[in-house]
Symmetry: C2
Subunit: 158 residues, 2 copies
Amino acid sequence: MTGPFATRETVKQVEEGDVLAPKFDANGLLPAVTTDFDSGELLMHGFMNETALKKTIETGEAHYFSRSQQAIWHKGATSGLMQEIVEMRIDDDQDCVWLRVRIGGNGASCHVGYRSCFYRSLPTGALPETPVELTYEETEKIFDPVDIYGDAPNPTKL
Amino acid sequence: MTGPFATRETVKQVEEGDVLAPKFDANGLLPAVTTDFDSGELLMHGFMNETALKKTIETGEAHYFSRSQQAIWHKGATSGLMQEIVEMRIDDDQDCVWLRVRIGGNGASCHVGYRSCFYRSLPTGALPETPVELTYEETEKIFDPVDIYGDAPNPTKL
C-alpha cells in the first residue's frame, strides 16, 4: 500500500486508527467545513475530491472541488483571500474534513461580500404558514463582489 | 405560496432576501454543520431532509436524516444528549445550515465516545509515500459506546 491515503479495511481502523483513510461519496466528494481559527466562526461549507484534498494537504491552503464548475478551486485565487490552514481534522468515519484557517486581506470568505457565508439566521419555534423570515447577522458587506469578480457567473444556482 | 419554505425564484432573492428558501440536493438532503455555541468547536456534520429541517425549526432541537438508516434522527434520543439550538443560520445559496448548540449531560456528540466527531488532526506538508498519520486531539473518551448503544449496528460504513 502506497500513497497518502490508506485503504479502508475495518471500522476499528477507520474510527480508532491513526492513518488517513478518507471516504469519498458516490460523486467522489467529501464535505469540508471551514471555520476561522481565531473566532471559531463558520466561514463556509464546501466539497473536496481526492485531488483537492491532496492539494490542501500539500500546500497548506484550502482547495475545494467546485460542483458548479466541475473543477478544482483554489480558494482565494481570484479574490486574493487564500485560506491558510492552521489545523486540519478528520471525523470519526473519515468522510468529512474540518479546516481551521486564517484568511489574509479583509478576511472575507463569501462571494456575496460578507465575512461568512452564513450571514443570516432563522428563528426556531412553531412553523409559520408563510416562509420563515431571516435576520441579517452581518449588516455590512466587506467587499463589493463586482469589484472582485466582475461579470463572472454567479455560483449560486436556483 | 404557503408553508415555511419559500419557492426559489431568483438568485437575488436567495442570496440577499429575507425569506427561507432552502435547496435540497438530488437526494433531498442539505448538509448541516453543528458547532458548540460556547467553545465554537465543530461537533459534527450531518444531513437534513425537508422533514428534519422542519422538525429542527419547530422543536429547537437538532434533527438529522440518517443516510445509513434512511430515517429521521432526533440527535440524542438514544444517548439523552440532545442538541439544543441556540442559533441557527443558513448560507448564501441556502443549501447548508449551521446549528450553534448546547448539549446536555456529558456534552458528547460522537458515537465513538469523544466530545467532537473531529478528534483527530492531520498535518499539512509534502505528501508522504505512505498513509498520512493522524494525531489524537482528544485523548480520552467521554463515554463508552457499549454502555450507551449496546450492540446496535455501528453507523460507520467502509
